[in-house]
């Protein structure tokens, strides 16, 4: 068996539309004796008012498969800035297929065995019913794999589901339901369906009235999935099993779950505008997944980051890297921060998030770590005796209010601290600590 590859993009490729490339594939791949790959290029966004691909009627086998993927560097997951791009549908980041019409039953539909969709972005932005990104009405499909994709539906009048599939394996995939009445994943006879390390979300400002998972019979296995923003995580707990899932709602199925978590403390941006469903520091999804090399043998996340980065796999499609992929180091010198010049005496590293410091907002992409030494920041000199990490909250330091907007934690080690010559007082819950010497490590304190 060989492999026949058709490229898809503009007129310089083999085919200008995915539908045409698919139509060129023989109906009987086994008889043709080949695997077929439809390899997409992000020459431009694939947009249509009608369904973009309907895979049906093909004869396939384990050695005569159909794969739809992206050429090297053409997927959002292999984009040069994949680690820092917002995790949400954006055709600028990679190959994207988007339907704009009403009553489009799936940007893609599939009823064929041995089909793999990999590294694709699909959005159904229709305004009517039956809006799905992928539709499969067969419970008997074998080896239907959705791998490392972004699936979305828009804010149309009546939502259906982002993904309707009665069978298959869906892994490392982001599923975003932007319609308030739609569900994330719908499955009717889910005996063969498995979801592994998927992020299934409704934006926090869309007030969903439905469930992340909806089924009508038992058998679907859900592992390491994050289900947030819906009115409930599942419509009926008896239909689902699995483990190590997370939600802002209760989770009535499986074990080792992270239930009733805070949505905004889990992902970078949870609102409909500017969505970014990358995990953030402090999220309960971090290091709380289970190793699942059965479903994900390559042990990677949606953009190819190796799992785990910490002590265990993360829940969701994203594997959190605490140090970031490309640490930023600032050496001694003068820096401008949100319009204010700071003279920095020692090196710093800054982590993901938006921070306001002394009334000035700055976007930081790495964890702030300040080592022992003297710092001048926005004209205020600080003498720091020990290292600190700063996390979410408002802080007053030497008479200057600083607001730290990301979910990190102030950790003050044992020792003496001074900031701009002002003695610090730190409270820890109902146990205030005063003076300049700390008897214990302080976490989550307030400085004044």
């Amino acid at each position: 068996m060989g492999t026949v590859t058709y490229t898809v993009g503009t007129s310089s490729r083999n085919y200008s539309t995915l539908a045409a490339a698919y139509a060129a594939v023989p109906s009987n791949l086994v008889l043709a004796g080949n695997n077929y790959v439809l390899q997409c290029y992000n020459d431009s966004e694939f947009v249509s008012s009608s369904q973009l691909l309907n895979i049906s009627g093909n004869v396939t086998s384990s050695s005569a498969t159909l794969t739809i993927n992206c050429a090297s560097g053409q997927s959002f997951g292999t984009n040069a800035s994949a680690e820092t791009n917002a995790l949400s549908y954006n055709a600028s980041n990679g190959v994207g297929f988007r339907c704009t019409g009403s009553y489009v039953l799936g940007v893609f539909a599939n009823s064929v065995n041995y089909v793999t969709l990999s590294g694709l972005q699909l959005a159904n932005n229709g305004t009517g019913n039956e809006e799905t990104a992928i539709y499969n009405n067969s419970s008997s499909l074998t080896n239907f794999l959705i791998d490392g994709c972004i699936l979305e539906t828009g804010t149309g009048s009546n939502g259906y589901s982002v993904l309707t599939t009665l069978s298959g394996l869906v892994r490392n995939t982001l599923i975003v339901q932007r319609n308030t009445s739609g569900v994330g994943v719908f499955t009717a006879y889910p005996i063969l369906l498995r979801l592994a390390n998927c992020t299934i979300v409704a934006p926090s400002d869309r007030t969903s009235s439905n469930s992340g998972l909806t089924g009508s019979a038992g058998g679907a296995t859900i592992t390491n999935c994050a289900i947030f923003g819906f009115a409930s995580s599942a419509n009926n707990s008896t239909f689902f099993s699995g483990s190590n899932n997370a939600s802002d709602q209760t989770i009535g199925f499986g074990s080792a779950n992270q239930a009733s978590q805070t949505y905004s403390a889990t992902f970078n941006v949870t609102t409909n505008s500017g969505s970014d469903f990358k995990l953030i520091s402090g999220s309960s999804c971090i290091n709380n997944g289970t190793t699942d090399t059965t479903d994900i043998p390559a042990a990677i996340d949606i953009v190819g980051t190796s799992r785990p980065q910490g002590s265990a796999w993360c829940i969701s499609a994203w594997e959190f890297m605490s140090s970031g992929p490309t640490p930023i180091t600032a050496g001694v010198g003068a820096y401008t921060w949100a319009g204010v010049t700071a003279n920095l005496a020692l090196s710093i590293a800054a982590n993901v998030g938006a921070y306001s410091w002394a009334g000035k907002t700055a976007n930081v992409t790495q964890l702030i770590n300040a080592g022992v030494g003297s710092y001048t920041w926005a004209g205020v000199t600080a003498n720091l005796a020990n290292s600190i990490d700063a996390t979410i909250g408002a802080y007053t330091w030497a008479g200057v209010t600083a607001v730290v907007g990301n979910s990190l934690t102030i950790n003050a080690g044992i020792g003496a601290y001074q900031w701009s010559g002002v003695t610090t007082v730190c409270w820890m819950g109902l146990q205030p600590l005063t003076g300049t010497n700390f008897a214990n490590t302080v976490k989550g304190g307030v400085w004044n």
């Binding site: 007129s11 539309t17 045409a20 109906s27 008012s49 009627g57």
Partner: protein, 151 residues
């Protein structure tokens, strides 16, 4: 608009691409690839006066989710173009002599026919095997004869 259509079916199954099925519709002067312009099983119809609503009719799937039965095979499209009803059907048969054929939208509409298909009825559940009539319980035996008293 420009319509890429199949002029022959690519298989015998009801859900294979059918002759006259519209594969994709693109704006006028679309940048078709060489394969799309020359594939002998396809033809491109240039219909500059076609409206988006007509295009949507040709691209409509056979049924919507609310009408679909799970585990049921359906045709791919609700409508196809009957090639024999087009103005010059010979251009759609045999060797592809033109990369594009110009057809007015009204003529395309005239040649558009609805796909008729009735999904097979679900397999009936076999009638249950009748439970055999139970064997009647034999009538009660009479009282045992009294053993004669010993002499």
């Amino acid at each position: 608009m420009e319509l890429l259509i199949a002029v022959v079916a690519n298989g015998a199954a009801v859900n294979n691409i059918q002759a006259g099925e519209v594969i994709t519709i693109q704006p006028d002067n679309w940048g078709w690839t060489q394969a799309e312009l020359t594939n002998p099983n396809w033809q491109i119809i240039s219909s500059v006066d076609m409206l988006q609503t007509q295009a949507n009719t040709l691209m409509m799937g056979f049924s919507m989710a609310s009408q679909q039965l799970f585990n049921t095979v359906y045709p791919r499209k609700k409508n196809i173009i009957s090639i024999s009803l087009l103005p010059n059907p010979a251009l759609f048969n045999g060797t592809r002599t033109q990369s594009k054929v110009t057809v007015a939208a009204a003529a395309v509409t005239t040649a558009t026919i609805a796909v008729v298909y009735t999904p097979p009825a679900p397999t009936p559940i076999p009638a249950p095997t009748p439970i055999p009539t139970p064997t009647p319980v034999p009538a009660a035996l009479g009282s045992p004869a009294q053993i004669p008293a010993p002499n």
